[in-house]
Symmetry: C2
Subunit: 98 residues, 2 copies
């Protein structure tokens, strides 16, 4: 069954800054190059009821593809080199059709 | 600009119970009948990193359609009669393309 993997987050950078743009671009470039990632999108979170400002979303064909993504060196490297130092807070949600 | 309105939640009901099914069915039937609601879906939240178990999602063509939905008597009634007594916890997120 397809799995939609999502993460909402806010950055340590100022809204509209060059650093924000660079992070979002790096996320898109790095993660879409990983095998199995489909339907990737960067979204702005606009509800005033949440402090998160952005979302990455992607769809995997099945749990095996999702697992391979999690273990892929490009994903692990992105988390270590960009995500940990530049993301102030985040929350993951994964969705399947009910 | 289109707005994706989402809410993740968990119910006071047991997983797999008749009460859970009835709530999800009532949400779908009630909310999809409100003008302006498109792309409605009920999703299961399966990440172990979150206690939420379900999501409702829908897309509005613009902020005016979203506002009309929020004020619609069928929405207000669903919140009062079903959401408040049957939802244990929830979080809204709204998304626009970045």
């Amino acid at each position: 069954m397809p799995i939609e993997h999502t993460v909402v987050f806010r950055l340590v950078h100022e809204a509209g800054s060059d650093e924000e743009s660079a992070f979002l671009r790096a996320g898109r470039d790095t993660l879409t190059a990983i095998p199995g990632v489909t339907g990737f999108a960067v979204m702005r979170q606009v509800s005033p009821g949440s402090p998160f400002t952005h979302q990455f979303r992607m769809v995997f064909a099945d749990a095996a593809a999702y697992d391979a993504y999690n273990r892929h060196p490009a994903h692990v490297g992105f988390v270590e080199e960009r995500w940990v130092p530049e993301v102030a807070d985040f929350q993951e949600f994964d969705f399947e059709p009910a």
